[in-house]
């Protein structure tokens, strides 16, 4: 199993919520994101379960904290018709591409292993996703959609963007997060404002822990 040592122990970007780094508009937007219920509005229940399973392979999350509701975030984006605005010839618009891709992926799972994607063990799910990434999945259910294009430009893209739109992910990577009106003052290499995350340096994370607890 992977070891998930915290690079930025106890750093929580949300601790700055009421501080000068967050303005009203940002609080409004993030509050909406944080309150998303893990229930589908755009996807059917079946589709939604497949997305949950895929998201878990594309961006695996540790057990020790509440998970980022990736599938719900993707669902809401499609529900709100937020689109990329460009697509290859023959590729359906964003929402239709999702529907078709999920159907095809489940068909591939059934054909190869006699089960829906979500019911497969991790290893077989990864195997199917890797085959999609390489454009090797070609059953009739894909229609004009190439599995590699679906993987890269639609499914994986939306999942990755959803995860890294969440404060939990921001804390994980030690990003400063929203920064208006305060912004930053110390810009140079190895410089850090007190309201930025401190990184745990080899072995000892006590100093980082202490510093991160004070971030506001």
């Amino acid at each position: 199993m992977h070891e998930r040592r915290d690079r930025y122990p106890e750093y929580d970007v949300l601790a700055k919520w009421s501080g000068p780094s967050w303005n009203d508009k940002t609080r409004e937007v993030i509050a909406r994101r944080l309150s998303i219920a893990p229930e589908p509005r755009f996807f059917t229940r079946d589709e939604y379960d497949t997305v949950v399973a895929i998201a878990h392979r594309i961006v695996p999350q540790p057990a020790g904290r509440p998970p980022v509701p990736i599938a719900a975030l993707v669902d809401r984006k499609l529900h709100d018709r937020i689109m990329d605005g460009f697509r290859g010839p023959g590729v359906p618009r964003d929402a239709d591409a999702w529907r078709q891709g999920l159907k095809a992926l489940n068909a591939e799972a059934s054909a190869a292993y006699g089960q829906r994607f979500a019911a497969l063990p991790d290893g077989l799910q990864d195997k199917l996703l890797r085959a999609a990434q390489c454009g090797e999945l070609k059953s009739a259910e894909w229609g004009g959609l190439h599995s590699d294009a679906f993987f890269k430009h639609r499914m994986g893209r939306d999942i990755v963007l959803a995860y890294y739109a969440h404060p939990t992910a921001w804390s994980e990577i030690g990003w400063g997060g929203p920064a208006s009106p305060r912004g930053y003052v110390r810009l140079d290499i190895d410089e850090r404002d007190p309201w930025e995350a401190a990184e745990a340096k080899d072995g000892s994370d006590a100093a980082a822990r202490r510093s991160n607890r004070r971030v506001r």
């Binding site: 303005n23 890269k152 030690g174 990003w175 912004g183 930053y184 290499i189």
Partner: protein, 568 residues
């Protein structure tokens, strides 16, 4: 709330949002649709916004329409990447060719102020020789403009935007000092500088359209780093906070959420106004002149969508070149990681630059040039880069993302050559307004590939020189579209003349990045604005000489409709 700028127009009822005061308004003149204005301008970005300002200040009556919303930066712009995707033009488009372009967030805006609302503010002059690249450098096409004249217009725009930049600029002929001092370097810029010094080439602080000192009600840049997501402090000198307020003060009307679907042509062969969609209905604004300034995709699309029996191939298209010679700029990158903490999310994405390979012609196996800049991708963009360009997912993606604060990158803005086969055409499908959507076809030529190889190789050495580890290249990315309605001195080989006036229809003008015959290796917006300033001056001269369809041209003196108009 009714105050949703995406659904309800804000510039109406004789007022427009005051972008400098929360909840504030400024009085705005309104024109009747039935009475022709001197100029109806389609698009309010770098080209259209600048031109609207200058023409209004010269006393012409101006209505500038934009398909996008009228944002209030101080209140509408969250510090958030996903929320701010609403700044981009994400209407349906089809991309094909051997190297299909990535559009959406990568290429154009949809807002009053256009793409300058989310641009990265890099404000460069073109190398003088680029205006005669065919004659002087042996490739591309000559511009019908003289670089010395452009040098004066660059100065005008730099002053209007209070560009912050270095005291002396290392390349090209002398230019005046930048109006505001350069911004401090961040970690990423420091690394670029170190790399250049190790390789023996010059670098400088990037001239940027963001304030390094207060200006009026706008305070200086706070280095929050959300520039391509939309600046919430008004430090960014976008068209929205510079040219547009001036335009309104001088009597121009801005119409937001107004999508122009067709330029109307009279039996006489002159254009007579624009059909536009606003508030749920199609309307018609009469105009003595129409200026199309919708960016390199929407401009040809509108001209093609306006075809009539007299102009069956679209307006201004007797040369057959409308939509052709679309040029992206290459935007490849080399990435690595440093042991040190870089945290390149702080500050504008590019704070240091080298134009070495724009001015050095020796040691190249390709035509054209490129600059390269330091980079500061925000987390969503960075994660998607690792996923799509590097193929990382699963545990390897999550782990690589934890190195975010150590990432260092250099990115080019490279010159791609004009090719007629790279083009915008109309697809059969229609968009939400019922208008045929654009199909954007793009393939790199061998010269483009050689330029990219050269740059990746060179930038890789620059990263090695600063002891970056795990160096990898992102070889498929482009930025900045231009071309598709090129200017020239011959009606057979260009769409507009040096004044941005179409050869075919004397009262139809095009004033945006579409008119570029070549793109150079420098970001285009300063040049677009300089051309717009020049076009306004030329229009004023033509009006004085009676060579223009404009009420104002028949009056004199010309300049005074400006500020006294509406100060209620």
């Amino acid at each position: 709330m009714s105050d949703n700028p995406l659904h309800v127009p804000r510039a109406s009822g004789g007022r427009a949002p005051d972008v400098f005061r929360p909840g504030g308004w400024v009085p705005m003149r309104q024109y009747r649709e039935s009475e022709p204005v001197d100029f109806a301008i389609v698009g309010t970005g770098a080209g259209g916004g600048t031109l609207a300002c200058k023409l209004a200040e010269y006393g012409f009556s101006v209505v500038a329409l934009d398909a996008g919303p009228y944002f209030r930066p101080l209140e509408d712009f969250a510090s958030d990447e996903s929320e701010q995707t609403r700044l981009y033009w994400t209407d349906d488009r089809i991309v094909d060719g051997a190297n299909p372009l990535q559009l959406g967030g990568n290429n154009s805006g949809k807002a009053v102020g256009g793409s300058t609302v989310h641009f990265a503010m890099v404000s460069l002059r073109f190398r003088p020789e680029w205006f005669k690249s065919r004659t002087a450098l042996g490739y591309g096409a000559d511009w019908p403009l003289d670089w010395r004249e452009m040098w004066d217009y660059y100065t005008e725009v730099e002053q209007a935007l209070k560009i912050s930049g270095p005291v002396t600029y290392p390349w090209g002929p002398p230019r005046p000092r930048y109006p505001y001092r350069a911004h401090p370097l961040n970690g990423a810029a420091r690394a670029l500088a170190k790399g250049c010094e190790a390789l023996g080439i010059k670098w400088t602080e990037t001239p940027l359209a963001t304030l390094s000192a207060p200006r009026g009600l706008a305070h200086p840049c706070v280095y929050r780093g959300f520039c391509v997501a939309g600046c919430s402090t008004n430090a960014k000198q976008s068209a929205l906070v510079t040219w547009i307020p001036r335009a309104i003060a001088a009597g121009a009307e801005i119409r937001d959420l107004a999508m122009v679907g067709r330029v109307e042509v009279e039996p006489s062969g002159l254009v007579s106004g624009v059909y536009y969609h606003r508030d749920g209905a199609w309307r018609f604004q009469r105009a003595r002149n129409v200026v199309v300034a919708g960016y390199a995709i929407e401009t040809p699309r509108l001209l093609l969508n306006s075809a009539t029996s007299r102009f069956p191939d679209g307006l201004a298209n007797s040369s057959g070149l409308v939509g052709k010679n679309l040029m992206a700029q290459s935007n490849q990158a080399v990435w690595g990681r440093l042991e040190h903490e870089v945290r390149s999310y702080k500050g504008p994405p590019s704070l240091a630059i080298t134009e070495h390979w724009n001015y050095e012609d020796k040691g190249k196996d390709f035509f054209g040039g490129y600059s390269y800049m330091s980079q500061g991708p925000l987390p969503q963009l960075w994660a998607n880069t690792l996923f799509s360009a590097r193929g990382l997912w699963g545990e390897s993606l999550v782990e690589a993302m934890k190195d975010y604060n150590h990432v260092i990158g250099l990115k080019i803005v490279g010159e791609m050559l004009p090719q007629e086969s790279n083009r915008v055409t109309l697809a059969e499908e229609v968009d939400q307004y019922g208008l045929r959507i654009p199909r954007v076809t793009y393939s790199w030529c061998d010269n483009d590939k050689r330029l990219i190889d050269h740059s990746l190789n060179f930038m890789g050495r620059a990263l090695e020189a600063v002891d970056a580890r795990d160096i990898w290249t992102q070889d498929d990315d482009t930025c900045h579209l231009n071309g598709t309605a090129r200017m020239g001195s011959d009606a057979r080989t260009s769409v507009v003349d040096a004044d941005c006036r179409s050869w075919d229809i004397p009262n139809l003008w095009i004033c945006d990045g579409s008119v570029f015959p070549t793109v150079g290796g420098a970001n285009p917006s300063l040049t677009i604005q300089a051309i717009a300033c020049r076009t306004a001056d030329r229009i004023r001269v033509l009006a004085q000489r009676g060579e223009l369809n404009a009420a104002v041209g028949r009056r004199s003196p010309l300049h005074q409709r400006s500020t006294e108009v509406h100060r209620s």
